[in-house]
């Protein structure tokens, strides 16, 4: 039920290996849940980040907090793409343009300007801290 992205050459090689002995190949993008919904994994971030339409940049001080799995507050918000809609999926970047994870915009760009500093602007969905936190269930 996992979805992997890989070259055909790699695929051909992998067909030689017994299915039970195969742990991973190429890059894992996500998985289908029991209710047959597709869920992205953080491992897909490198592929998706360059194509993200809506981005959010995080101030250096709030980076750590986001990487520990917390939502992003207004105080930590560095930049945000114009005209982001509410509940729009976004890619979270650090100010040095390093992709940090996926999130969902809690407010539109307009609303973000007005709210108080402690309000949540981006809901946390996945972050690269999971490489350490959930190493066992990463793919």
């Amino acid at each position: 039920d996992r979805v992997y992205y890989l070259s055909e050459r790699l695929l051909k090689l992998a067909t030689n290996i017994p299915r039970d002995n195969l742990a991973s190949l190429g890059t894992c993008f996500g998985k289908f849940t029991k209710s047959q919904k597709f869920r992205l994994h953080i491992t897909a971030l490198d592929y998706l980040a360059p194509y993200a339409k809506y981005k959010v940049w995080v101030k250096p001080g709030a980076e750590q907090s986001f990487l520990y799995g917390n939502h992003l507050l207004k105080s930590g918000l560095g930049r945000i793409t114009e005209s982001t809609a509410q509940y729009q999926g976004v890619v979270v970047y650090s100010m040095a343009d390093v992709p940090l994870g996926f999130g969902v915009a809690a407010k539109t760009t307009q609303e973000c300007r007005k709210v108080d500093p402690m309000a949540i602007v981006v809901f946390h969905q996945a972050d690269i801290g999971e490489y350490i936190r959930h190493e066992e269930t990463l793919t």
Partner: protein, 700 residues
């Protein structure tokens, strides 16, 4: 950038090396001060202490100079010394009125003698006289007895005389007390013995190193070990061994010195005797201690830049901004950085999580550099966990070609998968097959990296349990597995590949059994030759070790040690396969040898085949060496045989052992063939009961 605390690094616990040195001062002091000073120490003035030290030295000096000295003279002196101490303390206990007197006695001996007189009875005074006589006599090398008296005080300096008198007073007092319970003579003998060993121990700490006798060792074994003493003894022992002919004691052999050294090293660094033995075989004496000492401190934290995502300069800048103090690793590596200290956990920075670098020991960069993977190749990493080397290979290939990362342990693959994804490696298939089955699963690779599972004797600083939990059997078991793996690694390589055909074998062990021996075995068994690793530093591999003689080309392998290169102990060998054909004579033998398959933990069978694939093969010494080994391996063969015959009759077992040892040479080859050459049933054959029965009939 100041030096900052690295929270990532575990705080050192227990006394560090510095502390050890500082504590040595106590030992130094103890050499000069009588040991039972505890309660009387406060009473001694600084002058008195100095005098006591002088006295002490005086009594030791004649010995050091190796003068012919009557033993009894010495013991008598010791006795008096001891009793003086004893007297001080006991006096304090018993008579409070006397204590002030005692103090004055000690501080001003000449006066004290006169003053203390009134307190003591007449007979005691006489006895003290007797003692003084005895002392003097002994110095003149006359057998001393209590009855004998002569006065040789004249030839002594006044201060010496005074000192002696003072000692004697102490003696008198002690006798005063001891008369209540035990006869004085007996007690004196006891004290004498005690004192004797004590003094001898101090002598060892001195310049002239004397081997302790058997009973001393026994005594020491009963007590908790005194680390300072052992450390000192190791140093002295080394000194003697470095210049053995001049510094040795005449009647002691080098063996005795060495065995003491081994024991001390094992005790001081808490290694098993077996491992210490191995280490001392491996290194010259001067290096052993360096090596063991280097194992006590951890290697610097190093990291490798992931050039798939960033450049080293950018990464270094980013980390410096986070408060990490780092430097480039060395000239030989373009991606390595060494971390001195860090204000943030180096394994959890956003850069780490974003896959810009990998925490990786410097030594594990070497095998990949030796492998030198090219773009668009097929590469096999046989034992890949935790993925550091695999990702480095991918990085050198710039994510082209394919890599098969294999590890037999599925649990450990979690970290491989995590690391590969984090570092953005996309050309990798991760599997958990048994490495020994490999050419069967998939073959035809351009290059194979075999980072074989090993005893870990090169990474003791990382895992100190290795010190004690490895023995001969473990090493041989490792070596056996490694031989199987290296053969399957070689078989997985396609020799006709235009860019490749290379195998890199590496271990994090320093033992010859797991390194040179294994490579030498592979040279005999397959059409491979050793090529230079491309690493311009490191020590050359052994071509001869004790009774073993290896192929001369083993010079081109590389060894790395913690004490010389400040990285984990490591071994790297690069092999080039020049023909896909498996040497013919082995095939013939397989058919005949298969019935006698047995688990034998040795591979260095003699190379009797005339069609030996390798040119320049030294046959003479090898076969000789293997003859010697054969006898050694009887034991391991027997052990293995026992394992297999579990559940069978004892008699049957014994027969088998005999048979096994007889055939060991023969079986070795067939057994390994089976492992490396997975003909149908080849791997299964090991445990098949059908084979067991056939063991007994001799094939010769």
């Amino acid at each position: 950038m100041g030096r900052k605390l690295d929270p990532n690094r575990p705080a050192k616990r227990g006394p560090g090396r510095k502390a050890r040195k500082q504590r040595g001062a106590e030992v130094e002091l103890a050499r000069f001060l009588p040991p039972t000073l505890d309660d009387s120490a406060t009473k001694l003035s600084s002058h008195a202490r100095r005098r006591a030290a002088k006295r002490r030295i005086k009594s030791e000096k004649p010995q050091m100079g190796k003068k012919v000295l009557d033993h009894q003279n010495l013991t008598a002196k010791e006795k008096t010394l001891k009793n003086a101490n004893k007297g001080k303390s006991s006096q304090e206990d018993n008579q409070t009125s006397c204590s002030t007197n005692a103090a004055t006695q000690l501080t001003s001996p000449a006066l004290g003698k006169k003053r203390s007189r009134p307190e003591e009875s007449e007979e005691e005074e006489e006895e003290s006289m007797a003692f003084s006589d005895e002392d003097d006599l002994s110095e003149d090398e006359i057998m001393d007895d209590y009855g004998v008296s002569s006065s040789s005080d004249e030839d002594l300096l006044p201060i010496e005389r005074a000192a002696r008198k003072q000692k004697l007073e102490g003696q008198d007092i002690s006798e005063d007390d001891s008369e209540d319970e035990t006869p004085p003579s007996r007690q004196r003998v006891e004290q004498e013995q005690e004192k004797d060993t004590d003094l001898q121990l101090n002598m060892e700490a001195g310049e002239c190193f004397v081997l302790p006798s058997g009973q001393e060792i026994e005594k020491e074994a009963a007590q908790p070990p005194d680390l300072q003493l052992i450390h000192q003894r190791i140093k002295d022992n080394m000194e003697v061994l470095q210049d053995f002919s001049s510094k040795r004691e005449k009647e002691r052999s080098r063996q005795e010195y060495l065995s003491l050294l081994h024991r001390d090293l094992a005790a001081y660094y808490s290694y098993s005797d077996f491992l210490i033995g191995k280490m001392t075989e491996l290194f010259p004496l001067s290096e052993v201690v360096d090596f063991l000492e280097a194992n006590e401190v951890s290697r610097p934290v190093t990291l490798r830049t992931n050039t798939l995502k960033t450049r080293r300069r950018d990464l270094a800048q980013a980390l410096i901004n986070r408060g990490v103090n780092l430097d480039p690793l060395g000239k030989w590596s373009k991606t390595g950085l060494v971390v001195y200290d860090s204000s943030v956990p180096i394994g959890a920075t956003p850069e780490y999580l974003a896959g810009h670098y990998m925490l990786q020991g410097a030594s594990s960069l070497l095998p990949v550099m030796a492998l030198a993977p090219q773009e668009n190749e097929r590469i096999l990493d046989m034992c890949c966990a935790p993925g550091g080397k695999t990702s480095y290979i991918a990085q050198l290939m710039k994510n082209t070609g394919v890599i098969l990362a294999n590890d037999s342990n599925a649990e450990r693959l979690h970290s491989v998968v995590g690391n590969l994804h984090r570092l953005g490696v996309t050309n990798t298939v991760v599997s958990h097959c048994d490495g020994r089955q490999f050419p069967k699963v998939l073959g035809g690779f351009d290059r194979v990296l075999l980072d074989a599972p090993c005893s870990g004797t090169g990474v003791i600083s990382k895992d100190p349990t290795v010190k004690t939990n490895k023995d001969e059997k473990d090493i041989l078991r490792c070596a056996h597995l490694q031989k199987e793996l290296i053969l399957s690694a070689i078989d997985s390589v396609n020799a006709t590949s235009e860019s490749g055909g290379y195998i890199v074998y590496c271990t994090c062990s320093v033992l010859v059994e797991e390194n040179e021996w294994v490579v030498d075995y592979a040279l005999k068994k397959r059409n491979v030759r050793l090529v230079p690793t491309g690493l311009d530093f490191g020590k050359e591999g052994f071509t001869r070790f004790k009774e073993r003689r290896f192929h001369p080309s083993l010079k081109s392998t590389r060894r790395f040690y913690p004490h010389t290169h400040n990285m984990d102990g490591f071994f790297v060998a690069k092999l080039k396969k020049f023909s896909n054909a498996i040497p013919k004579p082995l095939k013939d033998e397989e058919s005949s040898g298969e019935p006698t398959t047995q688990r034998v933990k040795d591979g260095s069978a003699p190379a009797p085949t005339p069609t030996e694939p390798l040119p320049k093969k030294k046959k003479g010494p090898e076969s000789k060496a293997s003859q010697q080994q054969a006898s050694k391996q009887e034991l391991s063969a027997a052990v293995a045989a026992r394992k297999e015959a579990k559940g069978e009759l004892k008699a049957n077992k014994k027969k088998k052992q005999l048979a096994a040892s007889k055939q060991s040479n023969f079986q070795k080859r067939s057994r390994l063939l089976n492992a490396a050459w997975p003909s149908p049933g080849g791997l299964r054959a090991k445990s098949a009961p059908r084979k067991k029965g056939s063991v007994q009939r001799s094939p010769q």
